[in-house]
């Protein structure tokens, strides 16, 4: 009798043990399941799963390794820059001609930057403006490789607009490296397949790393440059959008980012801000 009473008491009282919520989050879980299935191994009914053959040139480890290395380099550069910057605002070394080839007003007229050898030095913005179509399809390295020497011209340093007393050589290196990395990311983003959600996830991770560096740079003397600050701010916006791309995002979401890139001419401005040979480690 006591046994029965105990069982009855136990069953009744135990109903409060880890009580599940009244509403089961069906839709949320279903969405997560679909996202994981589309991002993960392709389902093959019949007891097994086959993996989607990657069409990417580089594996995840390569991308993440490169991103981590770049992040480390940028962080080190910014750190050294801050450390070596003289309190009085006079750096020990002259700044690099990072922005040397940037023509005045390039933000307003992004096409006036690259596309042909005659315009890459930034000396003929008016002529360059007629090359807008070429710019839109130009490869990332085209502009930089065509004007080797220009950026090393000390005279160009004066036109960078950088506050000579506040931005050190290390800062410049860090900024150049960061912008190169951002350009690589955005190029990858624009050229990836719309259906490659795995790639989106990797780009998201990469963008997240670059986003923190961008914000770091925005808080550094690098951002005192009147042309570079808006570029970094626009870059920050684009990176946030890429970071927020979920695996199940629609083509419309990606189109939105593409429009931002085009409207703000981010790619063109990025390429303008990167001096020749920067990606070769100079």
């Amino acid at each position: 009798m006591t046994e029965d009473k105990f069982e009855s008491f136990l069953k009744k009282t135990a109903q409060d043990y880890n009580t599940p919520p009244a509403r089961v989050p069906r839709d949320e879980m279903w969405a997560a399941i679909q996202a994981k299935r589309s991002a993960g191994p392709r389902v093959v009914y019949g007891g097994g799963a086959t993996y989607v053959v990657s069409q990417r040139r580089f594996g995840t480890k390569v991308w993440l390794g490169a991103a981590a290395a770049a992040m480390l380099l940028v962080a080190t550069g910014v750190g050294i820059g801050r450390w070596t910057a003289a309190p009085g605002g006079q750096p020990g070394v002259s700044p690099l001609p990072v922005n040397g080839q940037t023509p005045t007003g390039s933000d307003a007229n992004p096409s006036a930057v690259t596309g042909s050898p005659s315009t890459t030095a930034g000396r003929q913005p008016a002529a360059a403006s007629r090359q807008s179509n070429a710019v839109a399809t130009a490869k990332p390295n085209a502009s930089r490789s065509s004007a080797p020497g220009v950026d090393r011209n000390p005279a160009a340093v004066a036109s960078t607009g950088l506050p000579a007393g506040r931005s050190s050589r290390a800062d410049q290196l860090a900024a150049v490296q960061h912008l190169s990395e951002a350009e690589a990311l955005l190029t990858s983003f624009r050229t990836r397949s719309n259906t490659d959600q795995q790639m989106d996830a990797q780009l998201g991770k990469w963008a997240r790393q670059l986003l923190s560096n961008t914000r770091l740079l925005l808080d550094s003397p690098i951002a005192d440059d009147p042309q570079r600050r808006p570029l970094l701010e626009d870059l920050e916006l684009v990176l946030v959008q890429i970071v927020q791309l979920s695996p199940g995002s629609t083509p419309q979401d990606r189109d939105l980012i593409e429009k931002t890139l085009q409207q703000d001419h981010v790619m063109t401005r990025l390429r303008t801000a990167i001096p020749a040979g920067a990606q070769r480690g100079s």
Binding site: T2, K5, E7, A14, D16, Y17, P20, M29, I33, G47
Partner: protein
């Protein structure tokens, strides 16, 4: 307590056939039919919404991967629950997450209940007592006494004989009776 229901063998076969044929609606139907039970059980055992969601999602992902190999030796419900329990119990072992109310109670010991007078709340005490059970006892107890599974269903889900399921339940109740001895008047009266 929730009744254990299965849509029946005929419906199972039809549903599986459609899923294997790539019918997305059938996948959703299968999910909708069983998700509540899988989630509830995962939540009961983990006590954590996030973990329960993870285990439920993993269960269905694995089920969709393997449904082509389902041979109908058990009901679809039992098969799904079997995957769900495997995922959940493995997950709980791996995470080793200590729930806040878990106390270092030795199995079969009343040592931790020396604090009974300081914490008189019966439900809290019962929860601790259930947490302190060995996994095999706790799982059977939760499935049978809390969620209302039969011994046959537990047997199929955990892949143990019915007798073992009954034995585990008996052991679990005995341990709980000892651990809750302070509250004997509650059930004697």
């Amino acid at each position: 307590m929730v009744a254990y229901e299965s849509p029946g063998l005929v419906n199972d076969i039809e549903l599986i056939t459609r899923v294997v044929a790539g019918d997305a609606a059938a996948e959703r139907e299968l999910y909708e039919t069983y998700v509540d039970r899988i989630y509830r059980l995962a939540f009961r055992l983990s006590g954590d919404d996030e973990m329960a969601r993870d285990y439920t999602q993993a269960t269905f992902i694995r089920a969709f991967e393997k449904i082509g190999s389902f041979r109908g030796e058990s009901s679809l419900s039992t098969w799904l629950h079997s995957i769900g329990m495997s995922v959940t119990l493995n997950g709980l072992r791996k995470t080793k997450r200590q729930r806040s109310r878990e106390a270092p109670i030795e199995e079969g010991s009343t040592a931790a209940f020396a604090r009974a007078e300081a914490e008189p709340d019966l439900k809290e005490r019962l929860a601790r007592a259930i947490d302190s059970l060995a996994d095999k006892y706790r799982t059977v107890f939760v499935m049978h006494d809390v969620e209302g599974y039969t011994h046959e269903e537990i047997s199929g889900t955990l892949n143990i004989p019915v007798g073992t399921s009954k034995s585990h339940l008996f052991q679990a109740r005995n341990k709980l009776r000892v651990l809750l001895a302070d509250f004997a008047p509650e059930w004697v009266s």
